[in-house]
Amino acid sequence: MKKHIVMSMLLIAALLALSACTAVQPAAQQPGAAPAEGSGKLAQIKAAGKIVVGTSADYPPYESIDADGNFVGFDMDLIRAIGERLGVEVEIQDMPFDSLIAALQEGKLDAVIAAMQATAEREEKVDFTIPYRMTKDAFAAAQNSTLVMEKPEDAAGHSIGVQTGTVQERWVQENLVATGLTPADKVFSYERADQAALDVANGRIELLLMDAEPAMELAKQTGLKILLITESTAEGGKSIAIPKGASDLKAELDRIIQEMLEDGTIQRIQEANGLP
């Protein structure tokens, strides 16, 4: 039995060593490999004739799945329009939000569009295009709540729900918990925003902090009221995430997004999906 334990340990060590080597691999590839081969990510996508895009389809009106099983929403319409201008087919792959970055890093996806913001932590792992939409956040509470909010810090001391791994969660941790304004046990991290909204509606927590537009949608459906819409908790805008070092893909996507912002395509898609 002792021999087995020793062998188990050795095997685990070997596995860790393997993952350490492979973890370095994509980073080592990125500066030189793309130009050297003369066929970067963009060329690969064009050669394949399709771009594989990851999303987490539980976030209307950005991305969700309709009754017929189609991907719908602002991000979905946008990425299809981008695919058209790239001249490739768009294949959408649904994953949990937390798996998206890992899948992108491992080359399982060519891009991620999931109402995602380019935070510093994420930018260490992947690259981002220019924002295709600037964002605001909303604080929502139950209809009968007596809370009044004038600034984000007014949330201090109240129980608050956020979605795991989002910028809002980090804002709460850094500005309310780390500063001692809110005890850590009053912050609840949900896998999905709609679960948090239901808990607010049921009175289990007082506040919900999330992106403004889906918050307004959720508020309508679950009977919440929006207390405050603010830019100060949000960081910049929503961007498409692409693999680290895919500079040709970034240049092309940036160009298309800029073009779509200027010719009103993005505005049109926003309105079609009920976004302000």
Partner: protein
């Protein structure tokens, strides 16, 4: 009427995930069966090296949460072999199930009286021949009840493959509830479907158990 219509739409939507769940479960069970029987044979009848390999496989895999194995297989190993999420998830689940199945079959092999092996060897059968024609047919029958239990566990563990993006029953339920904001309805439908799948599985396996019972 609105409620009924919602229910029908929800049900039809989640139903499409049933085939994915069945597919994942069947692949995982088959892969696990191959691994399980092979490792159990190595454990009981192999030389000391094979015994150690089988023991290490069983100890490590059973110590690691299945979801971690799925992640490792999809994100680390699949870098060298291009696997689709369905196959990566199913194979990982099978690899994990193999460890549990190896314990089931180890018990079954050991339950066959050792004198049978000695007798088979004495009349000139090779070890492999003896396992194939004498031990295995009995061991499989002995293993069936515990194996049936493992089958239902794998069926339920198939919910885990969603972390790599396989739209099985549970994920379909999540998608509906995100859209309709009626999680109770969505998850009730999911529960009903899992219940039906489990009941069918256990019935089928019980039939096998009765049909192939040992008359000792």
């Amino acid at each position: 009427m609105d409620f009924v219509q919602n229910l029908v739409t929800t049900f039809n939507f989640i139903l499409q995930g049933v085939w994915v769940t069945i597919g994942v479960t069947l692949v995982a069970l088959s892969v696990g069966l191959v691994f399980g029987v092979a490792m159990a044979m190595a454990r009981v009848y192999g030389n000391s090296f094979l015994q150690a390999v089988a023991a290490v496989y069983s100890v490590i895999v059973r110590a690691v949460p299945v979801v971690v194995i799925i992640f490792i297989l999809f994100f680390v190993i699949a870098r060298f072999v291009n696997l689709s999420p369905f196959w990566a998830g199913s194979l990982a689940l099978g690899f994990a199930s193999g460890a549990y199945q190896s314990e089931i079959f180890r018990g079954a092999f050991q339950a066959v009286p050792p004198g049978q092996m000695i007798a088979a060897r004495a009349i000139g059968m090779s070890k492999l021949q003896a396992i194939q024609s004498i031990i295995l047919p009995q061991a499989v029958r002995l293993a069936l009840p515990a194996w049936g239990n493992e089958a239902t566990l794998v069926l339920k563990d198939s919910t885990l493959v969603f972390v790599v993006g396989v739209p099985e029953i549970l994920r379909r339920a999540q998608q509906v509830s995100a859209r309709t904001l009626e999680p109770f309805m969505a998850f009730s439908v999911a529960m009903l479907l899992y219940l039906i799948l489990t009941l069918v599985t256990t019935q089928v396996l019980q039939w096998f158990e009765r049909r192939y019972r040992l008359q000792m």
